[in-house]
Amino acid sequence: MAAIIELSDVYKSYEVTPILTGLSFSVDPGTIVGYIGPNGAGKSTTVKMILGLTKVDRGTISVFGQEIHPGDTDYKKRIGYVPESADVFDVLTAKEYLGFVGQLYGMPQADAEAKASELLTIVGMKSSIDARISGFSKGMRQMVLIIASLLHNPDLLFWDEPLNGLDANSVLIIEEVLQRLRDSGKTIFYSSHILDVVQKVSDRILLLNDGKVIANGTFAELNAEKDQTLQELFNELTGFSEHGQKAADFVNVIEAG
């Protein structure tokens, strides 16, 4: 089966700082890939390059079996994206914003708004359909972003911290939605610092550090009889083991008054 995403020896620097240093991986369709790494590892940069928001310095990226170039737009219409920063036109109502997004993907306005209203109702936001997003809580805003990424029934999803601000019930719904979307053949590229959730939902895990993939496999493969959590594995592979000491120092300062 051809990979739905393929990065081959990708390099990227910002000014003189190298961010990605020969990044290579592939993602099969119909899987949930947990894309994790410490801050500054290059996760967001990877997603931006795949979405064409930033150029590759060296290397190739293929999506849906086609190498992508600056200016390509057609493949993006099959992608849904939830960014970490919740950028929306918040002066619009939820229905208006989702109607706008749907139309960008080529949906008729009435269809997009009807579908959006239905989805908002399902997640308990019926009374907010015609309310301005500027008045929404963080969780409500996040739900709008999630719906915006799914409205056009994309084949490939990039979700960056999608559960940010959601209440416990909404988290359960979205986790279940993820599994069902995967089961229906969609591919989800899931990035998060909450490793418990990544461990729970992901079929494969890509661990990025210093611009390179340092672990690539199922959780079971990566764990290989160590009986660790993903968090422990993460710490071990990224070389961070000071959290205990740092926590102790932190509490000592507080209690010193």
């Binding site: 928001l53 994206y81 960014p83 950028d87 109607g99 997004v101 306005q109």
Partner: protein, 590 residues
């Protein structure tokens, strides 16, 4: 669709002049601007723009401007009507202002550099002001790339839509401001001059647009983090402050030209200042046509052509550079905030205890960091300085043709009362204390048991005086050393400071019903009773002070100044003990 339906509590319920769009699709169907852009559909499609997406984006952008309560809120004054864009409703003001320009064109038909040049200069300044108030939000919108280009919108289409969105306002302003001058140029100068002025004005409009793109592109290229935001804020504030002066310019120039029988209604020779002020370049073709000589007209025409050519080649790279660097605006600044000498000195000298120091520092930092506050308050503070010139000019023009101008300026009474003019902006500075970008941050104080609101309010008011009013009063006072002896200057400054503090305290008392930093910036209801009362009181106090300064001997003024200043400081320290405002989040805990 009910034309008279109230959309929100800010509606005044009056009949709109045209149907207000209730929904985006109504705007998309009925917008005259979108129909205008439809004329260019073929051209845009040929150059690679996805026209349906382009139309959708421009339509929604215009709709968002119509429903956004903060868009051009300084024009709106809290009376937004549903679906009506505050900018379009305010255009009549610019049209009215442009009537003044008839005077220049009519008075100087033989001197296009002055007559038409004043119109061009005025238009350019108004353009820059509107740039700050309306366009810059769209130009510097960091959300566009992330929301649009991740959804199959090409950079070309997004950029074209952004340009079109801004051009709506650029063209609207041009039509409002320049129609009258252009028509009057036909009347006063003839058809050939009128046609040339029309073409030159349109070219100036386009060059102004490229200048604004270039300016932002350069700033975004060279700066980042906190410094970038400060520079952008400073540019915007300077433009608005200069526009305050520009509004007075026609009045000033008219009075100056009347003095001494100066006749400027004749062709001018080229002068160096014409090359420095680029709107004057666009009078070159008219000047050349009139004189049939190369001199000013020829040189200015060459400069104008150079501006056109440079703009043509600079536009695309500048726009690209600006867009590529937009993400810098959402980067957090990592450089430390510097505590300047002035702040450190005031923090040491002014607050008398720990609590006062805490809230004095908070208020100082809030004013220092809040660009919206500065954009609204600094121009009002600048009005004080402009008013000095406005009062000075008539005394020069009324002095008679034989009078020595320098002597008239030197001996003018305005220098004695100049520090008092600086109290004009205090009312606005106190009023805008209530606003903040993030009022929910004040919820922190609602969680502190037995929190003393009086100290919070008192130090906020004190900071207005110490950080804004007092330095301006002192600086302007010191500048009058050119015209007055030092002992008189000292006396005037002390009276200015004392009365300025008194005006600050009184306005603080009038507005103590609202917590500082507790409301989002919106259409400022500046004409509320509290602010009108504050302005009246300020005028009375300043007038009494002015009379005292002019008519009393300097030593008596000095003593009075000391007494008022010390007394006012004492009053401030014991003021606002019974404030009753509600902090954000306070009702959450009831």
């Amino acid at each position: 669709m009910n034309l008279f339906k109230k959309k929100n509590e800010l509606d005044d319920g009056s009949t709109p002049n045209e149907p207000a769009p209730d929904t985006p699709d109504e705007l998309l169907s009925n917008s005259r601007w979108l129909k205008f852009f439809d004329l260019f559909k073929g051209f845009l499609t040929r150059v690679g723009v996805d026209y349906p997406q382009f139309r959708l984006i421009v339509g929604y952008k215009l709709y968002m401007d119509a429903v956004d309560p903060s868009f051009m809120s300084t024009l709106d004054n809290g009376r937004r009507r549903a679906g009506k864009n505050a900018f379009f409703r305010g255009l009549w003001v610019y049209a009215l202002v442009s009537l003044i320009l008839i005077m220049f064109i009519g008075q100087f038909p033989k001197n296009p550099v002055v007559g038409l040049g004043t119109a061009m200069l005025f238009y350019t300044f108004m353009y820059m002001t509107v740039l700050v108030q309306a366009f810059s939000g769209s130009l510097l919108d960091v959300r566009d790339v992330g929301i649009l280009e991740t959804r199959g919108v090409s950079e070309k289409t997004r950029s074209a839509a952004q340009t079109a969105h801004i051009l709506v306002y650029v063209l609207s302003l041009f039509i409002a401001m320049m129609t009258v001058p252009i028509v009057s140029s036909f009347f006063f100068m003839g058809i050939p001059d009128g046609v040339i002025f029309l073409v030159s004005s349109v070219v100036l409009m386009l060059v102004n647009y490229v200048v604004s793109i270039g300016l932002y592109a350069v700033v975004l290229h060279f700066f980042r983090g906190e410094r970038l935001k400060n520079i952008l804020s400073m540019i915007q504030i300077i433009i608005i402050v200069l526009s305050v002066f520009m509004y007075q310019l026609p009045n000033i120039m008219t009075q100056l030209s009347a003095h001494g029988g100066l006749s400027m209604n004749r062709p001018m020779q080229f002068a160096w200042f014409m090359a420095l002020i680029y709107p004057f370049w666009f009078t070159g073709p008219n000047a050349w046509l009139q004189t049939q000589q190369f001199n000013a007209g020829g040189i200015l025409t060459i400069l104008m052509l150079a501006a056109m050519i440079i703009s043509y080649f600079v536009y695309a790279p500048a726009m690209r550079r600006l867009t590529n660097n937009l993400s810098k605006l959402s980067e957090s600044g990592e450089e430390p905030v510097h505590s300047g000498i002035f702040f450190r000195a005031m923090r040491r000298l002014v607050p008398q205890d720990k609590d006062q120091r805490t809230f004095f520092t908070l208020s100082w930092r809030m004013m220092q960091a809040d660009g919206d506050y500065k954009m609204r308050v600094y121009p009002q503070m600048a009005i004080g300085i402009v008013m000095i010139i406005v009062v000075l000019v008539p005394t020069i023009s009324n002095s008679g043709k034989q009078a020595d101008i320098l002597s008239v300026i030197q001996n003018n009474f305005v220098w004695s009362v100049a520090p008092l003019f600086c109290t004009i902006g205090i009312v606005t500075a106190i009023y805008f204390l209530r606003f903040s970008k993030n009022p929910s941050a004040m919820k922190l104080f609602a969680t502190i048991p037995a929190f003393n609101k009086s100290v919070l309010y008192r130090e906020a008011v004190r900071t207005v005086f110490v950080r804004l009013a007092a330095p301006l009063i002192i600086i302007v006072g010191l500048l009058t050393l050119f015209f007055l002896p030092p002992w008189k200057v000292l006396a005037n400054i002390l009276v200015g400071l004392g009365l300025g503090l008194l005006i600050t305290i009184i306005n603080g008392a009038l507005m103590q019903g609202t917590a500082p930093y507790s409301t989002v910036f919106q259409a400022g209801q500046v004409n509320s009773g509290a602010t009108l009362g504050g302005v009246l009181i300020a005028m009375v106090v300043a007038t009494v002070g002015g009379f005292a300064i002019v008519f009393l001997p300097w030593w008596l003024t000095l003593i009075a100044g000391v007494i008022i200043l010390v007394g006012s400081w004492f009053i401030l320290n014991h003021s606002y003990n019974n404030v009753h405002f509600t902090l954000p989040g306070e009702t959450d805990f009831e």
